[in-house]
């Protein structure tokens, strides 16, 4: 049985069908990568999975739970199985590194301060940021912020991790480090992951399967090799970064999807 299943999901935002008959099935323990152009609905898909958005039509089922039907308190319990790495990192600027990572622990677990410190130190070591506990968020580089956000996302050992553009805006070396950390986290925790990206190096490295989102739904799903060798003109255009092809700026026109 699939851990995450979206069936016939439609979502209209600002007069545009961002998701149009979207179907997605992610197995337990799998890392699924959603690729696609900027603004095409990748992050919207993640927000449906975690219940930040409700579909206009269709079903979103995670671990057997129908997400749109959850009550606010049910949603709060449900979300505790997730770690979410936001595109903007979404670290709280008023808190330092340690306080940011400790936030979900302090809110949801009865743990002593020494346990919290120990767990945070371990997690920071795993993301190669040992000893940075007391630094302010403003003093960190983009790559460091991404790693702190990753440490926060996994501190409670979630069953599902959602990564929203984890390497966007980072230099190639830092991107490679983040990809390795995602892979290591996957191996260490054995979680189900969805990675949203338009960075093909990242997609090939971390993904068990890759799906291309275009026109509001996944037009091809396959292993990294399947995608690399795809004959689909849209897939070829996207993975090779070509301006000519079926993907045009009309994709963003209202009612095009």
């Amino acid at each position: 049985m699939a851990m995450i299943e979206l069936t016939g999901v439609w979502k209209r935002l600002s007069g545009w069908n961002v998701l149009a008959d979207m179907n997605l099935s992610v197995n337990e323990g799998e890392t699924f990568v959603i690729i696609g152009r900027s603004g095409i609905g990748k992050s919207v898909t993640l927000k449906h999975i975690v219940g930040l958005m409700k579909p206009d039509k269709g079903t979103v089922v995670v671990d057997g739970i129908s997400v749109p039907e959850l009550s606010p308190s049910g949603l709060s319990d449900f979300r505790q199985m997730f770690g979410y790495l936001f595109q903007s990192n979404a670290l709280l600027n008023s808190l330092n590194v340690k306080e940011n990572i400790a936030l979900p622990l302090r809110e949801h677990e009865q743990v002593s301060e020494s346990d919290i410190s120990e767990r945070i130190a371990g997690r920071l070591t795993a993301v190669e940021l040992a000893g940075t506990e007391m630094l302010s968020i403003d003093s960190l580089s983009g790559g460091m912020k991404k790693r702190v956000a990753l440490a926060r996302a996994v501190i409670r050992r979630p069953r599902i991790i959602l990564y929203d553009e984890p390497t966007t805006g980072l230099d190639p070396v830092t991107s490679a480090t983040i990809n390795i950390l995602i892979r290591n986290t996957q191996k260490e925790l054995g979680v189900t992951s969805i990675v949203v990206t338009h960075d093909m190096n990242s997609a090939y490295y971390v993904g068990d399967r890759i799906g291309l989102l275009h026109g509001g739904h996944l037009i091809q799903v396959g292993t990294p090799d399947d995608i690399k060798n795809s004959a689909d003109p849209a897939v070829k255009q996207f993975i090779n970064g070509l301006s000519e092809g079926p993907m045009t700026d009309k994709d963003y026109d209202k009612d095009s999807a």
Partner: protein
């Protein structure tokens, strides 16, 4: 004409939606008072921001309001030989009206705008969504501590504003109107009643809640990046000031029926 009615209707709907959201936020904040002790550190931090950091400007405004009250009433009453009444007029006006009103206006401009901007920035940088995904209620984490802090600190600041305002009035009374300090404070003690003081503090308490809930509501409803943050900040201040002035009339009317 069609566009005018469309725009008018849209504004009405938006105002109703804003009002509904703000009322709901207040109710949710009351619910989250159960987390008062676990959020005590944050409440204290907010009280410091609201109270201690707003104290200098409150005192400056308070003393100058006292000066003006004494000067205006003194100059008007002196030709009739009734200048001794300035203690009564300045004292009662300060405690019943000017103290809570001026303090609230300062807090709406200084603290309400900062609250809306801070929460609005958190909204556009996805920090609010991050809290929601971590199953942390933004109302519990951000809104309730701010409402509690303003509810406590607005009356406390009002006490300081009242005190410094009366002292200011006595200084002008002595130096420009010729009312001795002894006479001024004797009259003030005689004419300012406890009900004048606590009715003013009750107003300050309501104004404090209003500023906090309106500002947090605008912050949480921020959309559209940095421009949206600016818009929310503007709306927070304007709406807070409007509501303070409107509530002030109705509270004055209610209090006068109950106590006077």
């Amino acid at each position: 004409m069609k566009k005018f009615f469309e725009s008018f209707g849209k504004n009405i709907m938006e105002t109703a939606s804003n009002a509904g959201f703000t009322c709901l936020l207040l109710l949710q904040s009351i619910y989250w008072l159960k987390a008062f002790f676990s959020k005590f550190k944050e409440i204290l931090r907010q009280m410091f921001v609201v109270g201690y950091q707003s104290m200098p400007v409150t005192l400056i405004v308070g003393i100058f309001v006292g000066f003006v009250l004494a000067l205006q009433t003194g100059l008007s009453l002196k030709p009739f030989g009734m200048e001794n009444l300035i203690a009564q007029i300045a004292g009662v006006t300060m405690t019943r009206e000017m103290g809570p009103l001026m303090t609230s206006i300062i807090l709406a401009g200084r603290v309400g705008s900062a609250m809306a901007a801070e929460i609005g920035s958190m909204r556009v940088s996805e920090e609010i969504e991050a809290l929601e995904v971590m199953s942390i209620s933004p109302v519990k984490y951000l809104v309730m501590p701010r409402i509690v802090a303003l509810t406590i600190m607005c009356p406390i600041l009002t006490i300081f504003a009242n005190t410094i305002g009366v002292i200011g009035a006595s200084i002008v009374g002595k130096l420009q109107i010729g009312v001795p300090y002894y006479t001024f404070f004797k009259d003030a003690a005689e004419f300012i009643e406890f009900k004048d003081i606590y009715s003013g503090l009750f107003k300050a308490l309501i104004f404090g809640i209003t500023i906090a809930v309106v500002s947090c509501s605008q912050g949480l409803r921020t959309r559209g990046g940095t421009v949206g943050v600016g818009e929310s900040t503007r709306k927070a201040v304007v709406n807070s000031l409007l509501l303070i002035l409107i509530f002030n009339y109705f509270l004055t009317s209610l209090i006068s029926r109950m106590f006077y």
